[in-house]
Amino acid sequence: MSVADVLSVMPLILTGVGALLVLLLGPFLQRGLVYCLAVAAGTAAGVWGALYPASYTPAIPGISFSPLARYLVPIFCIAGVLTLLYSHGYNDRHRIEGEEYPATVLFGLFAMCVLPCATNLLTLFLALESIAFAFYILVAIDLNRAESGEAGLKYLLFGAVAAAFTAFGISLIFAGSGSLELSAALDFRNRAIMSAGWGMILIGIAFKLSLVPGHLWTPDVYQGAPAPVAGFLSTGSKVAAAAFLLLLLGVAAPARELHVPLFALSLLSMVLGNLAALRQNNIKRMLAYSSIAHMGYLTLALLTGTRDGYAAVLLYGAIYTAMNLAAFGAIAALSGDEERARMEEYSGVGYSAPFRAGVLALAMIALAGIPPTAGFMGKFFIFYSAVKGGEIALAIIGIISAAISAYFYLRVVVHLYMRPAETTPPQPASPAESAALFLSAAAIVVIGVFPNALLHYLGTVLR
């Protein structure tokens, strides 16, 4: 292992060592300093990942800092750092103490950074499961609310079954091809075994991406988890699961056996996710169903199997991260001792906390896909690639369901600005929360107006 190898895996070293340092130094340092250390480690990893040139040669067996990793590692690091910034004030108010929280966030971030670097199925699977492990702990970390522990247990049981399915799929692919390299997943000489393996993997990933019918855990887990954790879960782990599928597919189109299951998963998720979200009065449950629908759009772009489709998936991953972190961050920053759960509790907040409510409204407008926000660009490229890839029927259904979804997103905006206040106004936000909210809002607007830089880089990723 040469110096160049060490330098190319530096994001992994920074997050991994950072997590251990936070855990070891936590008892001796002030709480604020521990969070600063964690934020510094995440930021350094993200900056390094964005600046260091990518290459396909493996640095250590099973790990190479590929162009895909160079795109995804900074996104994951931004998500992790923003989560930490949101969490500091939130955890103060909700009495979530101890250094294990920032350490677990960094451990999850480490696993996320490993995933796009993986060059064989073993590393890929272990990274996916390590992400889930970090989230099992983070979801259940709020000891003062009964729902948090329940959500953690539910997530763990569903996640473990999903892991078993994914592992069984990988084992069948290994049995069919005799290799654990990523390319083995495309080696269809033993058609029956390989198709069965791919089917099992799809079931496992449908759970992770919360595609209908594997979505049952999502609303409960989002509702039970602390708001910053729900934000990290809905962005980092979802983008990682999508990257898992992309890496397995290579840049090739999905095999013809996968077309029908992917079609059904995408259709059901888009339609049922958006329809179920209409009925929700709890904002986090509404966002959970919205994330089911958004993962349906993502699957639609995957289904086309074209380069445009994969570029749309990766672009949407970045945009969705910005939108959902802004939404959950605003929910976290607006919470007092208790989170504001029902829509009515947001009435009039637009006048008592204009900045935070403004970011929440912007996130909702972006999620609804209204220009000039990034949400519009993301949806545009997904439906464009779907129409170009020949999935016209599904694209039309997707566009109609996206139009319906505007109702429940704009309902939040209506409550924020057009209803008289019912609850006490929120306390002032901490500087860290304001900075993080500003960054995510800026990302939504900037990507929405100038998507070209990202798209240009995506062209080189998917060469």
């Binding site: 073993l122 492990f133 259940a140 247990l153 763990l156 290994f174 075994i193 409960d220």
Partner: protein
């Protein structure tokens, strides 16, 4: 090798289905669900070891070893959570954990 790979896969599939059945049928008891998940992961290891022998490479055995590490971490996490929830509600029956609709 005297046992063909097909037989190993059929046995593993049966085991996997039984584990899944256990998890689904005893949905009311967390411990039984964990046992079912263990059985499913054991079926996975069986396929890996069998395929490893069939192809003459050690990769599958390595994967099986790491699945063991993974399951032990998973079970320790799950049991810690069960103990924590048991202290709150005095039961391992999942029907009691229903404060959220869904």
């Amino acid at each position: 090798m005297s046992i063909p790979l097909e037989h190993v896969i059929i046995l593993a599939s049966l085991l996997f289905a039984m584990g899944l059945g256990c998890t689904v049928a005893w949905r009311s008891n967390v411990i039984m669900m964990l046992i079912g998940i263990e059985i499913m992961l054991n079926a996975v290891m069986l396929v890996f070891v069998g395929a490893s022998a069939r192809w003459g490479v050690a990769d599958g055995q390595l994967f099986a070893l790491l699945i063991m590490a993974l399951t032990s971490a998973e079970v320790s996490l799950a049991l810690a959570m069960v103990v924590y929830l048991h202290r709150r509600k005095k039961t391992v029956n999942t029907d009691v954990f229903d404060s959220m609709k869904g």
